[in-house]
């Protein structure tokens, strides 16, 4: 399972996350910081809600006409001398990239951060083929040096490691001799990686947004590694999820503005690099050869389904940063490279219910994710839809929802801090309380309360509710 990371069992992964005090502290403070940055930036921009409406409208139009825009994109890339490969599966994509690399007789590959290449496990294949693959994003680099420790956050992949651990990894693997100061660690990584950029044969990047009208694509970064990867190697391969596209440069503006604010609270990141084809013949730097690989890998199943809106995601991680459950268990507990609420929605779609049916339950349904999403994906409703589907699918077995609920109740039982996780819920639902039960919920909670009345988290904690539910007796009415 390429998307899969860590232990197979959801509950084991969760227990591990709960046992790691540093990780939880780090996640909490990162969430706090990213979240308040985002809130600050959104407020400063003003009209945030109108921006989100615009984002939603653009994404929705683009998905409805995705075949047209992908065709336009591929024509324009080809006109500029770039090659385009449409990959239906992860294997197709990996095979094509391998072929390009073999043809170039390339040995060293420099990569900048890309979720989709993680999803298709491209590195494994390239390494099997005898290539040296260097991750050049600082966080990813740290993980790679530490024997490929998996990422735990979309925006900050090495969030679960502290600086002393990083110093030790550098010392042990690379002979680093300085202190654990982030500045010194970073400078060391800069020097190490500079050599790699200069000697890499092929650069591989992801793609934040492709622009259909001109065959361009934009990389949104802070560190500058994506610029290195697209400036120095002679061959460049860009891998994009098929939904990462906008009609024109004007929509690129809106979505980049939403992304940088929602992700890190910046007006723009240090670099937004928009590339079109290989370098011009009279230019010196930039790739001589350019390949764009457009990946489906299960995404098209979402089109036309009740989950189509999940394809609107621009991977800003804002929903992850507000999620009380993520705060609690950390990124690795999701067992997927896509954690948090959006991960809980798309992982079962890309990887199947069989392996990921617990994920839609890893949510307290507090609605915070839906509130912050810059393109207004109804994450909540989608999680509830998943739950319904899972219950439907498993009804016949008799174990049904109970088993799944049990899995999650182990999480909630074992957690001292679950009070924190449910903190947001009382705030959201209190006005709707009658006799200790929520009779009707606002917005996102509503579909759920249509099935059964929710307990009030303040009075009876979520996990206690689960416990009593499990025993079969509760005064809250089972649906």
């Amino acid at each position: 399972m390429p998307m899969h990371i860590g232990e197979k069992e959801f509950t084991n992964r969760v227990d591990k996350g709960l046992g790691d005090d540093f990780m939880r502290g780090a996640v909490r403070s990162a969430q706090g910081r990213l979240q308040s940055n985002r809130a600050g930036a959104a407020e400063e921009l003003g009209d945030w809600d109108q921006w989100r409406d615009l984002g939603q409208e653009i994404r929705s139009h683009t998905m409805e006409n995705l075949d047209f825009y992908l065709q336009q994109l591929s024509e324009k890339v080809a006109e500029r001398g770039g090659h385009v490969y449409f990959a239906e599966t992860a294997d197709d994509a990996n095979q094509y990239v391998s072929e390009v690399i073999a043809k170039k007789n390339a040995k060293k590959i420099a990569k900048s951060k890309s979720m989709v290449t993680e999803e298709i496990a491209l590195n494994d294949i390239l390494e099997e083929n005898g290539c040296e693959v260097v991750e050049t994003d600082l966080g990813e680099y740290i993980l790679q040096i530490d024997d490929n420790d998996p990422p735990s956050h979309i925006v900050a992949p090495a969030l679960h490691k502290n600086k002393e651990q990083i110093r030790d990894v550098f010392k042990e693997k690379l002979g680093y001799t300085n202190t654990e100061k982030p500045e010194e660690l970073t400078l060391f990584a800069r020097e190490q990686l500079r050599k790699e950029f200069l000697s890499a044969d092929v650069g591989i990047t992801g793609c934040n947004f492709a622009v259909a009208e001109s065959g361009s694509f934009a990389l949104v970064t802070n560190e500058g590694n994506a610029r290195m990867v697209s400036t120095l190697p002679k061959t460049q391969i860009t891998v994009m999820g098929m939904e990462r596209i906008v009609p024109t440069w004007e929509e690129l503006d809106v979505l980049v503005s939403l992304l940088t604010r929602a992700a890190v609270g910046q007006k723009l990141t240090s670099y937004v690099t928009a590339l079109t084809g290989p370098k011009d013949e009279d230019e010196v730097d930039g790739p001589e050869e350019f390949h764009l690989v457009i990946v489906d890998n299960g995404r098209s199943k979402m089109l036309g389904s009740e989950f189509q809106e999940a394809l609107h995601c621009i991977r800003c991680a804002a929903c992850i940063n507000v999620c009380p459950v993520y705060r609690h268990v950390g990124g690795h507990a999701y067992g997927s490279i896509y954690p948090g609420p959006i991960g809980a929605v798309i992982t079962p779609l890309l990887g199947g219910y069989d392996d990921y049916k617990e994920l839609p339950y890893a949510s307290s349904l507090c609605g915070a994710c839906t509130e912050v999403c810059p393109v207004k994906i109804p994450l909540h409703e989608q999680l509830i839809t998943h739950r319904r589907n899972i219950v439907e699918e498993e009804k016949k077995s008799g174990l049904a929802e109970r088993l799944v609920m049990q899995g999650f109740s182990r999480v909630t039982r074992s957690s001292k801090l679950f009070n924190v996780a449910t903190k947001m819920a009382p705030f959201l639902v209190t006005p709707f309380v009658e006799d200790g039960s929520i009779v009707k919920g606002p917005g996102p909670i509503k579909p759920w309360t249509n099935i059964r009345d929710l307990p009030v988290p303040q009075k009876e904690r979520f996990r206690d509710w689960f416990k009593t539910r499990e025993k079969g007796g509760t005064g809250h009415g089972q649906g």
Binding site: L45, N65, E88, T248, L268, T273
Partner: protein, 240 residues
């Protein structure tokens, strides 16, 4: 330019159309008129001078120094910044504006008086120009469009305007002619969009650069200076 290959497209796109429950669309899709134009109200009525003020404020947030000057003092202003960084090896774009703004004929005195060597990006020397940029400690370019709101200089690559100049040296200076200021990214992307619509060829690389490179990957502490420049200064120059 030879047209590139497109592989496996038809089946892939057919499947998308199928799942969307309709026939393939190969033409005739127009962007709708979006229901709001919220991006155009940002800094809408600001004069050029007000935009410079916004830019200056924003520079505080992006760890970038801003210097204001006029054309006759530009040469000195740049030299001061370089000397402040102890820069010895400079690489610049091969851009006619260096001559228009009276800088090219000063480079000799930079060398004689301050020991600063200036190399111009030279596409005809191929790889050697990348090597020179890698060895330089200061990179200097002009800004093509400047975004006040975010503190961003927009650079269009071409033969004389190598991507490496603003990337490889540890410090970076952007000369910002005041006339390049616009409120935000919307104005720059609209301009590019209009070029595309009129069939103009757009640069192979358009960089939107906002201050020096940085990372918060270690315990969420911001470290300025990762792969790109560690320090950046914008020099805003009156040009009309």
């Amino acid at each position: 330019m030879v047209k590139g290959d497109i592989k496996n497209r038809e089946a892939f796109l057919d499947k998308i159309a199928d799942n969307l429950g309709r026939a393939r669309k190969t033409s005739g899709v127009e962007r709708p008129r979006w229901s709001n134009q919220v991006q155009w109200s940002v800094l809408k009525d600001h004069t050029e001078d007000q935009l410079v003020d916004v830019l200056e404020k924003q520079c505080d947030f992006i760890h970038t120094d801003l210097v204001r000057t006029n054309q006759s003092n530009l040469n000195q202003a740049i030299r001061d910044v370089i000397k402040g960084w102890n820069g010895k090896n400079v690489v610049t774009w091969d851009d006619p504006r260096f001559t228009t703004f009276g800088l090219t004929n000063q480079f000799k005195s930079w060398n004689e008086e301050d020991g600063i060597t200036v190399n111009q990006w030279d596409a005809s020397s191929g790889e050697e120009s990348i090597r020179l940029a890698e060895k330089a400690d200061v990179g200097i370019t002009f800004s093509d469009i400047t975004l006040a709101e975010s503190g961003t200089v927009v650079l269009f690559s071409d033969q004389g305007k190598g991507r490496s100049v603003s990337l490889l040296p540890a410090t970076y200076i952007a000369i910002v002619p005041k006339s390049t200021l616009v409120p935000r990214m919307s104005q720059a992307t609209r301009e590019i969009h209009q070029r595309v619509e009129s069939g103009e060829r757009i640069s192979s690389c358009v960089n939107f650069i906002t201050g020096p490179s940085n990372s918060a990957d270690i315990e969420m502490n911001l470290v300025v200076g990762v792969h790109g420049p560690i320090k950046a200064t914008y020099i805003v120059v009156e040009d009309r």
